[in-house]
């Protein structure tokens, strides 16, 4: 077995301080260098620690902007709630939309944030914002969340990429940015189609000979201006070859799961994506993003909302259950969100339009206390009236859960230090 399974045996307790103490206790005496280690070193070492802890994140991305009213914030007693009813969950007093019966049964693991708020109502800019924690800014190629997480706590020794995005290219969702190619996501079209071109055209021996020949022919270009390019390409060829030669490639094959479990996840592409996400995390992938498309329901929102929730409700709940049963949930943060919410007022075509002012995000695992609702909107669902959560607050909380210091700075290519998150505060309630 390889190192990813040598997870340090620290009892998983909630709260950063305890973890820091745990990790300090675990550092070797040599590493501590007789107390000369500064707090910054300790922080840096903390991400080392997290690496070995195998923290991971699965982002379930509802592309197009899911309606909060038809998912986690029903308003059955107000006209704005439309025809969607509320159902009880396994936590007394918490109700969610009738479209989400499976999630209702794992509510004890979920923290529903009903008070997300932003100002971006344009798909591309909002998708960018909810992926980067920043708005697009000329001249700075921000890394996306998954790339930052892969950079901070990814396991470089793993043969699989640290960041995988399932569900095809997603405009504005970003990549490694100024961190470079190492942290770009491996993008898969669909979980039902394993990565393409992963079988060498020749037998392994000849393939390896070819790779050596290729390598020996790169020197000339490297010495005539292409040094960095050749270095990057060598890295990619190496990563790609390691990956396809690795037995871990099996992680991409959801067919290997027992039929019963596959059934429990459900039938949709998204379901296969969730199952693949769990398999990938199990094999040491640090960040997996699973995309569900079609949430931009300007028309016929109630029927389409039912179709969409049918595709994601069961797999989302099953993913939580599965992770829990395998003892992986504490180390795996699951985030469910889209780029914004939808208008409280139902439009004349029975749909809802873009609404960033009050929307939902749901988090589970990764030290998050489940069974709670954070924030609230007024009866009409138009305003956040309690505990507004900004995008930066959510991002800080995600990094916090993963043991990453969000104030760390990366140097962008234009020589400007860029914090992982600029501003915002951890949503403490999530972890207490």
């Amino acid at each position: 077995m390889n190192q990813i399974h040598h997870i340090t045996n620290v009892a998983t307790r909630q709260g950063r301080v305890i973890r820091r103490r745990d990790f300090l206790r675990q550092l070797t005496a040599a590493g501590l260098a007789a107390g000369t280690m500064s707090w910054t070193d300790a922080i840096a070492a903390s991400s080392e620690q997290m690496r070995s802890r195998g923290m991971a994140c699965i982002l379930l991305w509802m592309s197009g902007g899911p309606s909060q009213f038809e998912t986690f914030s029903p308003k059955p007693s107000h006209a704005n709630g439309g025809e969607t009813k509320a159902i009880p969950t396994n936590i007394p007093g918490i109700q969610i939309a009738e479209n989400m019966p499976h999630c209702a049964k794992v509510m004890d693991s979920l923290a529903v944030i009903r008070s997300m708020t932003s100002k971006e109502g344009n798909h591309l800019r909002a998708t960018y914002l909810l992926h980067h924690g920043y708005l697009p800014m000329g001249g700075v190629n921000f890394p996306t969340l998954g790339s930052n997480v892969a950079h901070q706590i990814g396991d470089a020794a793993n043969q699989l990429p640290s960041y995988v995005r399932i569900g095809g290219r997603l405009p504005s969702s970003g990549g490694g940015g100024f961190l470079g190619v190492d942290y770009d996501p491996l993008v898969l079209q669909s979980a039902t189609r394993p990565p393409e071109n992963t079988t060498p055209l020749t037998d392994t021996k000849r393939y390896e000979r070819r790779l050596r020949l290729l390598n020996s022919l790169q020197g000339n270009f490297a010495s005539t201006g292409g040094e960095q390019i050749v270095a990057d390409q060598r890295k990619l060829v190496e990563q790609a070859s390691d990956m396809i030669m690795s037995p871990r490639m099996e992680a991409f094959d959801v067919e290997r799961e027992p039929a019963k479990l596959r059934e429990a996840y459900g039938q949709s592409d998204f379901a296969a994506g969730c199952l693949m996400a769990r398999r990938l995390v199990e094999q040491g992938v640090t960040f997996v993003e699973v995309v569900s498309n079609g949430w931009d329901t300007h028309f016929d929102g109630f029927n389409r909302g039912r179709e969409l929730t049918t595709q994601v409700d069961q797999p989302t709940a099953m993913l939580i259950t599965d992770l829990k049963q395998r003892g992986m949930l504490d180390k795996t943060l699951v985030v469910w969100m889209g780029e914004f919410g939808r208008t409280p007022r139902v439009n004349p075509r029975a749909g809802r339009d873009h609404y960033p002012r009050a929307f939902n995000a749901v988090v589970a695992g990764g030290g998050v206390r489940g069974g709670q609702v954070i924030g609230a909107t007024n009866d009409a669902g138009t305003e956040v009236i309690e505990r507004p959560v900004a995008v930066t607050d959510l991002f800080r909380s995600i990094y916090h859960s993963l043991g990453i210091d969000a104030d760390q700075e990366n140097m962008s290519r234009i020589g400007r230090p860029i914090k992982l998150v600029d501003g915002g505060e951890v949503v403490r309630e999530l972890f207490t």
Partner: protein, 535 residues
């Protein structure tokens, strides 16, 4: 219309007719002045300039830059052997007269426009865009005429390539305004869409005043049973105020700037006013007149010339005068102000002649220098050219050319499905990138590496068979060194170094047979970083 390279070859005999006037500034003179301006702006006695590149590197560079392909060994050799002192200039002129010039650059602009498309169905306009723009470029229609087409076109998107921006932005008023400004002026005024920009002079009103040139544009499905298409329409008759959802997608007589405090409110009606000159058109002006008027004002503005000059310079030298090709304008500092001003003015004086512009840039010493790694921020720009990753179509062409494979033309059904249906289009899905982003950010990816290494489609040519070029070369070239040289010439457009010859000799000896060894060499060459870049 056709994408087939074979078909395009048939057009080789058709000469393009230049509309370039006799009063055009001389490309050689302007190139020299630009070099002098660069020296004045940037260089001092301590600046180390990269030497002039050798002929073989120049040939491959200029072939890829102008016609988007690599030269054949015959073309390369005849250029290398040409004793004429001005042979580089002649080569540039020859390539600009080749119809592949228009095809190459129309594909570039297709990517500029469609990589920012709001949704996938915009791909329907890809083929007509490529065909129409390719034709205009080959006819050397001036850049202001071409821009005017894109700003004013209407009609079926499967027939009128000029509708591309409107189609890509789904007829949405604000998005169209933002793209027109970004592409043709290099000004990102849409940052002021929601709030006044902290670093720019543009006010939120000014963005919405620009949007006010486009409220009557709409994209709607074509009512036709035989095909699925869309048309760009300018609507001038309005019976009642639009209602319902998607209000932003419905045409309106005048543009309303939304009220940020109350998104449900109707907002403020905006006058169509061009932000760079404050010229306005009256309320109620028809769609045609509005868009024509904007095109006229926009294309005579200095930023219109500067934007395209900066973009082409960046594409050809690996770095623009401004840090970004689509974020320039009065609030940005160019690295070489005199040079960019000079080239912009001369381009305007040339009558916005694109072939003139490319010929001029290719004639500068700056362009013709050897490549060096992309500079660090504190280093002096333009002391060398920069290696550039090939765009998807350039790479696809190079793969076809290296081993003489024919491009499979898409069948009728594939063509109708738009670009994505063809093998080239599928290749583009893996290898394409938005040409407006900084080139160092257009990173290669694992799926790309895997596609080149392992896909049967890509590798068909590097497996010997009796019918393909590799098979023929193996059969007709008994000498190993000669065969090595031939493959290097074909793939990398240069001869192998002594060291490389040595490596291959050793490799051939160690391989189980000669065929396998040279298949492996061909495979390695197309998988090398050198093949995938232009140096």
């Amino acid at each position: 219309m056709s994408l087939s390279r074979f078909t395009i070859l048939l057009f080789l005999s058709v000469a393009w007719i230049s509309n370039a006037g006799a009063t055009e500034p001389s490309t050689a003179d302007v190139a020299q002045q630009v070099d002098q301006a660069l020296a004045a702006d940037l260089f001092d006695e301590n600046t180390k300039l990269a030497p002039r590149t050798n002929d073989a590197t120049f040939a491959r560079r200029v072939w890829l830059d102008i016609v988007g392909d690599i030269p054949t060994p015959e073309e390369l050799t005849s250029f290398l052997l040409d004793p004429a002192p001005n042979k580089r200039e002649s080569l540039v002129a020859k390539l600009l007269a080749d119809p592949h010039y228009g095809q190459n650059w129309s594909r570039y602009w297709r990517d500029v426009i469609l990589f920012r498309a709001l949704d996938e169905r915009a791909q329907l306009v890809a083929n007509p865009l490529e065909a129409d723009l390719g034709k205009w470029l080959n006819e050397n229609r001036s850049w202001n005429e071409i821009a005017t087409e894109f700003i004013t076109s209407h009609g079926d998107v499967r027939e009128v390539g000029g509708t591309a921006i409107m189609m890509a932005q789904d007829g949405q008023t604000e998005e169209i305004a933002a793209e027109v400004s970004r592409i043709f002026l290099g000004v990102q005024i849409q940052c002021a869409q929601c709030h006044d920009h902290p670093y720019d002079r543009w006010k939120r009103e000014q963005f919405h005043e620009l949007a006010a040139f486009f409220p009557r544009v709409t994209v709607r499905p074509v009512r036709d049973l035989t095909k699925r298409s869309f048309e760009v329409v300018g609507q001038d008759r309005f019976r009642r105020a639009p209602r319902g959802n998607n209000v932003e997608r419905q045409p309106t007589a005048e543009h309303m700037m939304p009220d940020l405090e109350d998104p449900q409110a109707p907002g403020t009606q905006m006058e169509a006013k061009f932000f760079l000159t404050s010229s306005t058109v009256p309320w109620g002006t028809t769609d045609d007149q509005r868009r024509m008027q904007l095109a006229a004002w926009l294309t005579e503005n200095e930023w219109f010339a500067t934007a395209v000059v900066n973009r082409l310079w960046a594409e050809l030298l690996g770095e623009g005068f401004y840090p970004s090709v689509d974020d320039i304008g009065p609030d940005r500092e160019p690295t070489a102000p005199t040079a960019v001003k000079l080239l912009g003015e001369q381009f305007q004086a040339s009558g916005y002649d694109m072939k003139w512009l490319i010929a001029t840039i290719c004639q500068t010493e700056a362009y013709q220098r050897e490549s060096r790694p992309r500079r660090e921020l504190e280093e002096t720009p333009f002391t060398a050219n920069v290696p550039q990753r090939l765009r998807s179509d350039q790479l696809y062409n190079a793969l076809l050319s290296a081993l003489d494979s024919a491009e499979q033309a898409p069948n009728g059904q594939q063509y109708l499905r738009g670009r994505r249906g063809s093998p080239r289009g599928k290749f583009g899905e893996v290898f394409g990138y938005d040409p407006s982003i900084a080139r160092e950010e257009a990173a290669s990816s694992i799926p790309q590496v895997l596609a080149l290494m392992n896909s049967g489609d890509v590798n068909r040519a590097v497996v010997q068979n009796r019918l393909n070029t590799l098979g023929e070369l193996l059969a007709t070239t008994p000498d190993d060194d000669e065969l090595t040289t031939e493959l290097f010439l074909r793939c990398l457009c240069r001869e192998p170094t002594k060291k490389e010859i040595g490596t291959i000799r050793k490799y051939v000896k160690g391989a189980s047979n000669r065929r396998e060894a040279f298949e492996d060499l061909a495979w390695s060459l197309v998988n090398s970083a050198e093949f995938q870049h232009r140096n």
